[in-house]
């Protein structure tokens, strides 16, 4: 005999928070301009004060992990692109490095290693530009959004020139790239960096140190370092809380140990440490660090064929591998189990945005609804990666 299920299981679950008196339950999203996709936040409001936030995810579920089991290893790359569609190159890099570890592919051409760093750092700038622009838009600044998109467009042009696509590239392949960088890519990229570096200063003048913006964000959504670490948050969100943790430094993958760059952390200049403004300014400063890495990498870019070590058949031996890399949004990890066939037996993606959104109640209870918008914007979540 089957166990008797309590009636209204779902309601029991939903009403697990303390609802008292005139509390209002408000559904924020899934169609809401500030949720950056299709995120639904269930808010319990006392007046305008948020007492409890519960995120509901899954509106963008694409079955990536199960679907990967039916695909061959190269065919998964377009799907990995679609996890974090705003930093598709970084997703590819994480997946490709995992498969290479699984195959024991360590002798890679120098040029390929440099191409990977260049592409990943350009992607980091593009992704941070979008994060900064939309965060500004969330708190009511429209001009920086347009300017950020103007500059991001130039990076997408570079990517289009290299790979042929603008958003979902399928460019980094296992042991190689789809096609070598076009001739003159390095000079074009350096030209872009020369153009872009002063634009960061403009952005600072326009938005970062604007008093209205600081008042709006500097004491909002405080994420203390202890809470951030206990939730497993990574990337700029963690560094905004003052924790110096960057996988490019701590656990260098590829050739990151060759480059000289700093890891910017939040300092709480204008308010509490770990506030939305700190997370924001970490992204701005990270773009400058990426420029530093890019200048070094583009100067040292060696010649040769990046695809000389590309395996013709991709059939990793049985075993498993986990590789974590620093995507623009934090620590992206792929765990792949191989049974020796052409398809992965299991492919698990570890998403940085998922951990970030899981902390939304710790950050967002006790704030005003308008501040919650700023908090969600400052966490820089991408729903494609949360739902996978």
């Amino acid at each position: 005999m089957s166990p008797v299920l309590p009636q209204s299981v779902g309601n029991e679950y939903r009403m697990s928070y303390e609802r008292q008196g005139d509390d209002l339950v408000l559904q924020m999203g899934p169609q809401h301009p500030s949720t950056h996709g299709v995120l639904r936040l269930e808010l319990v409001l006392d007046g305008e004060l948020v007492k409890h936030v519960r995120p509901h995810i899954g509106y963008l579920h694409r079955c990536f992990e199960k679907h990967a089991e039916a695909m061959t290893y190269p065919q998964v790359i377009p799907y990995a692109d679609r996890m974090d569609y705003l930093a598709a190159m970084s997703m590819e890099l994480g997946y490709v490095l995992t498969v290479e570890k699984l195959m024991g592919l360590t002798e890679l051409p120098e040029r390929l290693q440099y191409i990977r760093v260049i592409i990943a750092e350009l992607q980091r700038i593009a992704s941070h530009l979008l994060a900064i622009g939309t965060f500004g838009l969330d708190v009511g600044a429209i001009t920086p959004f347009l300017w950020c998109f103007r500059d991001r467009e130039k990076i997408l042009d570079l990517f289009e020139w290299a790979s042929g696509a603008r958003l979902l590239y399928n460019y980094l392949w296992i042991g190689g790239v789809m096609q070598d960088l076009p001739a003159g890519f390095a000079s074009k990229a350096l030209e872009f960096l020369d153009y872009f570096e002063p634009r960061v200063q403009e952005l600072n003048d326009l938005l970062s140190f604007n008093k209205i913006f600081i008042e709006r964000t500097a004491n909002v959504g405080v994420l203390s370092p202890e809470v951030a670490i206990s939730y497993g948050i990574g990337g700029p969100n963690l560094r905004g809380s003052g924790v110096k943790w960057d996988l490019r430094k701590e656990e260098p993958y590829g050739i990151y140990e060759r480059f000289d760059f700093d890891v910017p952390v939040g300092t709480g200049e204008f308010g509490t440490l770990g506030a939305a403004w700190d997370r924001y300014i970490v992204r701005v400063r990270e773009m400058l660090e990426s420029i530093k890495i890019l200048r070094q990498a583009l100067d040292q870019l060696p010649g040769g064929d990046p695809n000389e070590a590309m395996p013709r058949r991709i059939r990793p031996p049985a075993g498993d591998a986990y590789v974590r890399t620093e995507s623009p949004r934090g620590e992206i990890g792929f765990y792949i189990i191989s049974d020796g066939s052409e398809n992965p037996y299991r492919c698990k993606g570890r998403s940085p945005c998922f951990t970030a959104i899981s902390a939304i109640n710790a950050i967002g209870s006790g704030v005003l609804v308008a501040d919650l918008v700023a908090i969600v914007g400052s966490l820089d979540i991408v729903l494609g990666e949360i739902d996978r």
Binding site: V76, P78, L168, Q179, I212
Partner: protein, 185 residues
């Protein structure tokens, strides 16, 4: 007290800095492209629309196998020895491709199909204005063989196969095959 006035000063000054920037940008050249009238030149390797040059297709269906979303469907009929043609790359076309459909509505523009092609006859083109009001218009039929002609070719191939098989059947059968044949009689 100093802090109070500093706050007022910052609230007054920093928006002005931003406004000066926006004013300066007002006199900069515009970056907007008036799309249908002005166009960007796309790089030649842009991945927009799939195209198949059927003159070079040998019907090997490697692109079909490489596709992660199964948007390519290919059917082939064996060509008679006298019908075998050559592609511009020097490959022999031993198969008539009677069906080569690409459903661009399903395509994920990943470029995986173009890499294994031995004659490089399937490739991405920079044409991107292919929106249609009906999604079945997005199924592109690339084969130049009409359905009637395809049926004729299939019939021809079947007959040729039978003729080839006929002398074999005439030969005396041995073992199990002979026993089965005898039982059938």
């Amino acid at each position: 007290m100093v802090r109070y006035f500093a706050n007022i000063w910052h609230a007054f000054w920093t928006p002005l800095v931003g406004m000066a920037l926006t004013w300066r940008h007002l006199f900069m050249p515009s970056v907007t492209v008036q799309y249908p009238d002005e166009r960007w030149e796309l790089p030649p390797n842009s991945r927009m629309q799939l195209f198949v040059n059927m003159d070079d297709c040998i019907g090997c269906a490697q692109c079909e196998r490489a596709c992660p979303v199964q948007c390519i469907s290919i059917e082939t009929v064996k060509a008679l020895p006298e019908d075998v043609k050559e592609t511009s790359t020097g490959h022999k076309i031993r198969l008539h491709t009677t069906k080569f459909d690409i459903d661009m509505a399903k395509c994920c523009y990943c470029n995986l199909c173009t890499i294994p092609c031995p004659t490089e006859c399937i490739y991405m083109t920079p044409s991107f204005e292919d929106a249609t009001p009906d999604r079945f218009d997005l199924v592109y039929h690339f084969t130049q063989i009409s359905p009637q002609h395809a049926a004729e070719l299939a019939e021809k191939a079947r007959r040729a196969e039978e003729e080839e098989a006929a002398p074999k059947a005439a030969r005396p059968k041995r073992g199990i095959a002979a026993a089965v044949a005898a039982e059938g009689d």
